[in-house]
Symmetry: C2
Subunit: 306 residues, 2 copies
Amino acid sequence: MLRGVGDDAAVIRARPLCVVSVDAMVDGIHFRLAEGWATGAQVGWRALAGALSDIAAMGAEAGEACIVLGVPAGLPERQALELVRGAGALAQQTGTAIVGGDVVAAPALTVSITVLGWAEREAQLVGRDGAAAGDLVGVTGRLGGSGAGTAILEGRALGGAEREQLLARVRAPSPRLREGRALAAAGVSAMIDLSDGLASDAGHIGRASGVRLRVALDSLPLQAGVSDVCAELGVAPQQLAATAGEDYELCFCVAPSARATVQRALDGAGLAAVTWIGEVVKGAPGVALLDARGEEVALAGFERRW
Amino acid sequence: MLRGVGDDAAVIRARPLCVVSVDAMVDGIHFRLAEGWATGAQVGWRALAGALSDIAAMGAEAGEACIVLGVPAGLPERQALELVRGAGALAQQTGTAIVGGDVVAAPALTVSITVLGWAEREAQLVGRDGAAAGDLVGVTGRLGGSGAGTAILEGRALGGAEREQLLARVRAPSPRLREGRALAAAGVSAMIDLSDGLASDAGHIGRASGVRLRVALDSLPLQAGVSDVCAELGVAPQQLAATAGEDYELCFCVAPSARATVQRALDGAGLAAVTWIGEVVKGAPGVALLDARGEEVALAGFERRW
């Protein structure tokens, strides 16, 4: 960074391709500070995680972030600073420089984060539009944790032994930056981050690519503890995993010939594992969710509840 | 733009230096939509103008913008779209590409805009920190229009024959992008945009540069109609011009040897004229506002009222 906070604008030495994404979160809608859903620091962390997750899904390297805070009249300054500190902690962990921002008065605490990512060549980046019939569909990590954690925060479930890990998934999710770069380098054809839930997000890949993703619900990798919460809720764990969103894992498509390359790419220490969950076929662009008998389940039954 | 709205993130072909700025505005605080202060389109225009003004003050070229809208439950969709259209009109006029954004629910209409600007070399950009003793202080265009227009909107003044032009200054300000690039090319040593008002903003240059800017209040170029409004308000027009802010003109410092070059640089068709308003001296870093007798007026008397 050549110039940062304190001038009219930040100045950054660029690389050939700039990747930009914004993400906003509002108290009372995306989190509930007053009800103790999260500390200010966790809100800051989560807002930056959401924005960085888009950079991860492009296969780009994280670069810089600008944070706009909308601060209500009654909010203690300590809490606003805590929020910036929380974002700062994830920034440090991911090598992201916080280069600027703005603080404005607002009726509710609002965090809006812009992140810049960088790449050297177009071929290093992955869009949503490259999936082809015959590709395999994979997903990183484990699903449903954020949805189950939110149900606990809402008081709709108690959770079992993994209660704290489920809450951590809501409060401090990890953007899959290293995984995104490794998958892009391994040659995946399309990629998206799971912010709205697999049922929606895999559909985005299908529609952008003009293909149909067939996903076997039973193959979805559940986060430990999700089944316990789903038993309390009376919901099938696969339904929660496919629709609850905000897990910030990556869903991608790749030619079968590159399956082993992808597997090896995510073998590195500390990287989220890959689970193969389906295949890409010709057909109505979008996603088909398949039950245990291999039959399509109507999407209407899988709308997001949280 | 290589990828835009519809993928996880926008992808832009970069130039060597990237300049980033963010600006946020909230209904009820920065504007009052319900009271007819501005149309949705004007709110969108103004939010983008505020962000682009920072790019102008660096001497960079405008590039791309991302718009985050916080939309309250009751707001008609038409009004939210109008806001994006208003920003789009200024984007088109300034050659800015709107490459992405986010829409979230929020308790009040909130617009947060990130803009990227570009430059080839560091020497093309101007910070706040380069002013030197002996430099002249200049300002583009005319001041006080936005403050006077706001007083009319607040019902505190009626305004005279120039009432509409004063209102237009609040509702649809022009970021001085061409002027900023011309001034940077002419070799100005420091530059800032007047968003908080000259009394604050010139002080930022002084403190960042470690010098004192001496500004003659009587030399401030008043927008037509400001004096009429000030007569109604019982305020000295120079006080309004120095403190009301949001005129989005540029204040800069330059060595006396480059005075003619600066003058010629802003001679082009449609560019705002330069007015010379003071000089840079050694002394306590900041700004000194001088009355007609050349005596320093206490800054406390010039706090921003709007």
